[in-house]
């Protein structure tokens, strides 16, 4: 798990810097959420269990394979192949529309259940996203049909500049589970082992047909919401400093070191491996060719007559240098 967490931080930091250099597009750092994403994925069976991420988890999905970060680099490079993962990789495309992925996860779990397939669906979403009707509608239904879903509410304290105190008056986000008649669990999202434990239990419940669980994982945002954001406008410096002091990556490393399971060599190796992956991913992403008319693909299985005309016109203009 620690290797995956270290890799996540490296991927995220590198992409952040590449955005600053103008080589990649807007991105949302995973910094501070590594433990919750990694802890969750290690409690899952990637060949059966589906991940429905928001936009911040992709860096930390290493347990689902390096292909995730390779695709995500393409996504950040603004390439349409980046929002997809190849068949067999049970991860849904990056979701920008907040909470929209939550009913998708419920639909997937429902579909798996109906077809008698093993597997659970895990929806990641933020404290902010939890205010959208989509979350409530989906969680309510999932409990009614006992769909095998894990609702992973990542409470990092902020929705851009909006603190949780303005997001809800609920005592905890886990308390929202009562509205659906499902168990609600609150866990320290900076502790990957604790996360692993609650997700393991929630998964077991789900596959046993006992229904969904809402997990509130409490984390801290270590800095920017996205590269387009300036957190100094609204997060008090002391709070940022405190969050950084509780940074889950070095904390977990120190923990493992203290029991002799981690050392400088392993650290160096993990960093080197991660750097190699992201170097390669970014190089390939930036070099990936793209046809000027690629956006006509995959709208429908077959283009409409009008789309065919439009495509021909685009290619004509392209030939004239006017598109």
């Amino acid at each position: 798990m620690l290797r995956t967490m270290i890799a996540a931080r490296i991927y995220s930091t590198r992409c952040f810097n590449l955005q600053r250099q103008g080589r990649l597009g807007t991105m949302a750092p995973v910094d501070g959420n590594e433990a919750v994403v990694v802890g969750t994925t290690y409690a899952l069976q990637p060949e059966h269990d589906w991940i429905f991420p928001q936009y911040r988890e992709q860096y930390a999905l290493g347990r689902y394979g390096d292909e995730v970060i390779r695709r995500h680099a393409l996504y950040l490079a603004g390439h349409p192949e980046g929002s997809n993962y190849p068949a067999g990789l049970n991860v849904f495309p990056c979701q920008i529309s907040l909470a929209a992925q939550v009913p998708h996860a419920v639909g997937m779990a429902w579909g798996l259940m109906r077809q008698g397939l093993a597997g659970v669906a895990v929806a990641f979403f933020g404290d902010g996203a939890s205010s959208e009707g989509d979350f409530y509608e989906a969680a309510n239904f999932a409990a009614v049909i006992k769909a095998p879903v894990v609702f992973m509410l990542v409470n990092n304290g902020w929705a851009i500049s909006t603190p949780t105190s303005m997001q809800t008056a609920a005592v905890t986000f886990a308390d929202k589970a009562a509205a659906f008649g499902m168990p609600g669990v609150r866990v320290d999202g900076c502790d990957p082992i604790a996360v692993w434990e609650v997700v393991t239990a929630a998964r077991a419940r789900a596959v046993a047909g006992e229904g969904p669980t809402l997990i509130e994982a409490v984390t801290h945002r270590l800095g920017h919401h996205t590269t387009a954001d300036d957190p100094t406008r609204y997060i008090p410096v002391e709070q940022l400093a405190a969050a950084r002091a509780a940074d889950p990556v070095p904390t977990f490393a120190a923990q493992l070191r203290s029991v002799g399971l981690w050392d400088d060599e392993l650290q160096a190796d993990a960093e080197a491996a991660a750097n190699a992956v992201i170097d390669d991913a970014v190089d390939q992403a930036l070099a990936r060719p793209l046809a000027p008319d690629a956006f006509f693909d995959h709208v429908f299985a077959q283009p409409t007559p009008r789309m065919r005309r439009q495509r021909a016109q685009l290619l004509e203009l392209e030939a004239e240098g006017r598109s």
């Binding site: 993962y85 190849p86 929209a100 939550v102 009913p103 639909g107 239904f141 429908f300």
Partner: protein
């Protein structure tokens, strides 16, 4: 052959498609034991069980949103929105998600989702039940918009929609559910390809372009005009997306005069798209400016005024007469 109403044709087609493909799942508000508020899903729960015919909680975004996950899981979702106006509750899932499942996954996932929803005026339903919003839906890339006008094409197009690998909005005219009938084969083995308009009546002087229940209105208008010796063609678009531009251009070029009849408010309704398409493809064959007979630019009115809002035979006839007044 048996004479069937449109709602019967829909009901039987749903049953046939569910029997044909066990990935098909029907769900929505009151579709189960109640058989749908218009009986479109009547009897399906008895025949196919509670796992394949599912009453959901009252939440349209949920109904549309879960369809995305079901499709990705390999099912063929056929959700019902009880009245089209309530699709607004789930427009983010419709436009932002269903319409883009294939696109966002760069082709990985099919989205064989057929969303059935009744709409349209003439039956004095309460507020928000009648709105014709097909123009808004047609502007959302990635959705097909299919609008049957009778029992026969409802059956054939619905079967095609369910088999289509892309999301189809299948909009059923409330007013036609029981009033429109066709003689149909008993096994109902009909599949009509999506994207082809039908010339339901040929004519030479003017063509009325219509869809959904307005096709029936157009037919009656054509008959009324025929009594005065005017020869009126009626083109039923049947699907707005994909639009059958070739058939549209052919009949318009031949007649030179055209009236578009639609229930939606005029401004930015699909009628404007039809006129713009006609002008782009048949400008030189037009002898008169195309005329739109539309709903007015007001919210769908209360029951007492409904008949004045929805284009009537009289209004469509008047529209035809206006375009016929123009000297060639």
């Amino acid at each position: 052959m048996t004479v069937r109403t449109m709602i019967e044709a829909i009901n039987l087609t749903l049953a046939r498609e569910m029997a044909r493909d066990d990935r098909v799942i029907v769900f929505g508000e009151d579709v189960g034991v109640n058989g749908g508020v218009f009986r479109a899903t009547d009897g399906l729960i008895d025949r196919f069980g509670r796992d394949r015919v599912v009453d959901t909680p009252l939440a349209e975004a949920l109904i549309l949103g879960t369809a995305v996950g079901l499709a990705a899981a390999g099912m063929v979702p056929v959700p019902e929105i009880q009245f089209l106006g309530f699709s607004y509750q789930g427009f983010h899932q419709l436009a932002g998600q269903i319409a883009r499942l294939r696109y966002r996954s760069n082709g990985r996932f099919d989205a064989p989702i057929t969303i059935r929803a009744p709409f349209g005026g003439g039956v004095r339903t309460p507020e928000l039940h009648s709105e014709a919003i097909e123009g808004q839906l047609a502007n959302i890339p990635g959705l097909k918009v299919v609008m049957p006008s009778g029992a026969r094409n409802a059956a054939g197009l619905l079967a095609a929609a369910i088999r289509d690998p892309d999301p189809v909005l299948f909009l059923e005219p409330l007013r036609g559910y029981r009033s429109l009938r066709d003689d149909l084969p008993d096994d109902l083995d009909l599949v009509e390809p999506i994207g082809r308009a039908e010339l339901v009546r040929d004519g030479e002087d003017v063509v009325i372009v219509a869809w959904s229940y307005q096709v029936e209105v157009a037919r009656r208008a054509a008959k009324e005009l025929a009594e005065d010796g005017i020869s009126v063609a009626v083109l039923d678009l049947r699907s707005l997306v994909p639009l059958d531009i070739d058939s549209l251009a052919a009949v318009v070029s031949r007649c030179g005069r055209v009236v578009v009849a639609e229930e939606a408010p005029q401004t930015a309704g699909f009628g404007g798209e039809v006129v713009a398409t006609i002008v782009e493809h048949c400008f030189y064959d037009l002898v008169a400016p195309p005329e739109r007979v539309s709903g007015y630019d007001v919210p769908f009115p209360m029951a007492q005024l409904e008949d004045r809002y929805v284009p009537s035979v009289g209004r469509v006839v008047a529209g035809c007469r206006r375009v016929l007044e123009v000297a060639p």
